[in-house]
Subunit: 342 residues, 4 copies
């Protein structure tokens, strides 16, 4: 039996508690939150869970094995560090930290104490993204030409982070998981329409050493909700629409053929071909359930998580570079962890 | 009776000929094309039209009042200049020229000879874009926050120009028409996936002096066709989907309200409101018909066209700056004609 | 404080319990179900609720004011009668009874004992259907020409009732609420594809004294989910798509104009006109919450519910007639409660 | 060289002329129409085509081999008979005749004179319908459970025929082509909302000897255009949406499994399974081009057309029965040509 504590019972915390509560072999032992009314809500729903305002009480409880952190981003790394130092396994809501130095500090601490450090990149655990990973890994797409995502809606404004840290973090973590390449530079543009507030609309371009380009559009101020990613390959192309109720992934047997011949402005050397479209059946298990099961398994078997500290750090580094580029109207910023993965 | 000649009977030329032929008070007198099989096609469809391989024969015909040019981009300005010098009124397919100096030369020549010089920015003449213009001009949207367009599909590769010059030119001309502001800088990124070929995917961000940002995504290699523009304002927002058969324009009574109060990471100072959606009935006249009627009227009454040389030049200048920025991975390039229009 | 008991904790019961539990002034006192595992689930979620296998225990509890019944259709009227005889107010899941005699018996009993008898026609309490009612009542549509609904998906097969009693009951209750006319005859066709099982696909046409026709398509075996109703009027037409996340109701300013003139097969005497489309903002409160609040208010103030016994009876009578017609391959069956409502 | 004449240059005639004109080995020799302005239009488009008001002039021309008839329905059989008697091969716009006796008369005449008699069931020649035929014939769908089509829009009112004869004729001809069964009875309901005019909305149910049901909804008065057919089978199901620009056919690997076990109202004996969806690439040749090529080939090789007189007659017989049933509010009418095809 793994005993879990959850810090923060705001927007995401209830999902963590609910899913942990339903996992066999897991017990939600404690929940902390600064707001009494949130703790009262926990009590009404889970009378047997211990609630507290001060998370240090939870960390001091040696009966608790693991802690999940669902608090504002600026507090992630400090709370995670405290939890690791109290010898807890830690799951941190995305992004892992607000600064890459802090993420590095967490990785070191987790390693030293041999604790699981995992970041909650939820989309990596969806049936849709896992299917994309499978398709890309099997070379079904051929050479990858581009990765283009749009994640916009009329949504909650955040006050402590810009829209890149709030929304693009999802797309970056999906891209990091499915592509076998890591970006070498980023150019970002964006704007805040409300003085003193962080940027509410942003565009990121990611450059690679390969003949591949990635782009993300994130926006808190769109009249319609769009969650669409296009992945173009030389053999096949994917449209991933997360709002589709059943056919989230469509694989198009479309591509480009180069034909040889004399070149002229009137002659096409490059033509396209179109074939069938196919929408594979997807695992519809709630992603967070799959993810928490994985977290528990990593604790039990001392495994490295799929979305561990290093992954979390890579994403934070891109977020930092993107913010820097955005402040300079798109000037490209180099990234270090560049190139094809082994 | 206005007698018209058309140079180039490839993809767009047939549309020009068909629409000119149906306009009262207009006669298609001549069509030139380098390819005999295209001229044969003209003859089979319009036996009374004079056809020729050499456009100079057309320009030498003093009975011809106006010439429309629908040839590869690299030839636009040279052909247009010849036509002006032959004292013809000239309509040039978009973009007006491949270099801004050439566009300037055309403007000067047209002015000197008091000829109409018009660029074929077709979308400006659609019912949809005219309705957007009307909504923006009437301040229905409030402050304009952003202009975001996507124009992608699996389409014809051009060999003489990149995808910005081929596709973004449409979005730039629409934006130039509907917005009362002119961009001050551009950052563009993109890529060619085929060695020796121009970029086939590109992203443009346009910066303004105002709290407004514009972005365009153009792509010849997308598995699905998308033609969607979002225009966000403080009072209302527009979704313009050109592929919708009937409801191309949707106006959302959605926006943002700033509420005052104590600031904290848990408190929302900015909230959104949602109201009705409204899809206005649009004029469904073929845009090219409206446009050519306007061209003829400008000739007859000596009027300045809605999409004259200056407009064409502005767009070419942005295209040039975008190409330059794209070559430097998004480095922002300043634009001169910046600011609010009178 | 109204104390409520719920009989049946299968598919719909949990929604009743959850919504009652969240209503101020209401307490869920007891839940009964024949299956121990369902009762265990209640206990885990609501430790303070009294659970029992035998509903008679609940009815015998004089501290319970009202009972909601969410059991198989064949048991509705018997359980409701017992509850009324125990002087409880009663809410019955749709349809009110499996036979119209039984519904009549319930109405009489409720009247005699001055108890609230309400049937759970949930859709009547949605923001969408209430908006349609408002539009129809205000004569915005002009003369109503037709009511056409499609309710199909790959869904749960019922064993005790056919697809008309399971799905068309929703459409009949919506139609009964929004239209000011009652049908005079019904013709139904359908089929069972599984020997010994009730019909899994069916089509109903409803005839009126007015120049109005209604039709419903219900199907448990469709590869895609459709929930779409068209309501055509002489002035405006409504499309109600319940699967649309935000724009469930679209009002089209489209209609028919009769023009006078000489009649010939080549001349159109009837032409159509098209105008704007408008999607009104809708109340998005969960329908069941609105409905249960109404139930409680009816109990407290002795009011007649919007969907009381008479409404439930009317629907059961149509369902009976439709089943009879379906057995005779569409032979029309007359209905008694025919004509315009006051 | 086959020389063709076309009678009627209204809505459909121009499509016939254009497609015949582009077929190699075919020459459009003559067009007749009662309206001088239509003949003028022919002349402006095809200067070499002989035009005439009186079709008898065309029939008297022994140089003309075949005649296509695109006139109002009431005139189809008389014109076709005259053409056959003048020893022409004949293509008749759908439906073949306004009465089944007339269709029989045409079949006899064509047989006696060994002329090709073909009815223009255009949809049979589309890539989409041919793909459906292929899927059904290969038993990919398993047992066919139902055929359900919706064909509605705000469209042209016809004055000489009701909406069944105008629109359902398309669906009946598609169904006749793709299903290996012929219906045994029909129940139809419908209504005219304009005194003295034919029905503008109608619903048809078709009964078969097999465990199969078909239904069609046709409507000239719908605010939105819908062209959607569902075909349900025990193994797979098809959604055919003719308005989809590219993925008109979607094949769902969905179906029903019967599981054995003790029966109770709480236990499901019938459950469904869902798998991949697949949208096959379709031949996008214009259907009319394929059809006319087939017509010409039948003439040249003395072949029987895919949509010959017998097919046309079968459809007319169903249309007659449907009209009769509609007049009696859905009373089922038996059909003779009932059962499985060889």
């Amino acid at each position: 039996m793994i005993r879990v504590g959850v810090i923060g019972y705001g927007y995401w915390g209830p999902n963590l508690v609910r899913n942990f509560a339903e996992l066999p072999g897991v017990q939600v032992a404690a929940v902390s939150d600064l707001r009494p009314e949130r703790l009262a809500l926990v009590k009404s729903r889970y009378p047997s869970v211990h609630t507290m305002a001060d998370h240090r009480e939870m960390l001091a409880d040696s009966g608790i094995d693991a802690v999940a952190i669902a608090t504002p981003i600026s507090t992630h790394s400090d709370l995670a560090l405290q939890a690791l130092q109290a010898d807890k396994h830690v799951l941190v809501e995305k992004p892992l930290a607000a600064r890459s130095e802090h993420a590095i500090r967490l990785i070191e601490e987790a390693e030293r104490r041999r604790r699981v450090l995992m970041v909650d990149h939820t989309f990596v655990y969806t049936g849709a993204v896992r299917k994309i990973k499978e398709l890309v890994s099997s070379d079904a797409l051929g050479d990858i030409y581009y990765y283009d995502s749009v994640r916009v809606n009329l949504g909650l404004f955040q006050h402590d982070v810009d829209v890149i840290w709030d929304l693009a973090v999802h797309d970056l973590s999906i891209m990091d998981y499915v592509l076998p390449y890591r970006p070498c530079a980023v150019s970002a543009t964006g704007m805040s329409h409300f003085p003193g507030q962080p940027e509410n609309i942003a565009y990121l371009t990611l450059f690679f050493d390969e003949a591949l380009i990635a782009h993300m559009h994130v926006n808190w101020l769109a009249p319609v909700k769009v969650r669409r990613t296009l992945i173009g390959g030389s053999q096949k192309m994917i449209v991933y629409d997360d709002l589709e109720p059943s056919e989230k992934i469509k694989v198009y047997d479309k591509g480009i053929s180069r034909t040889s011949g004399a070149e002229s402005v009137y002659q096409m050397l490059i033509s396209y071909r179109t074939g069938d479209m196919w929408a594979p059946q997807l695992d519809s298990t709630e992603a967070l359930r799959t993810e928490l099961r994985h977290f528990v398994r990593c604790i039990e078997h001392g495994q490295a998580p799929l979305t561990g500290g290093e992954v979390g750090l890579r994403i934070v580094e891109i977020l930092e570079a993107a913010s820097r580029s955005m402040a300079e109207r798109g000037r490209p910023i180099e990234l270090e962890k560049c190139g094809a993965t082994a």
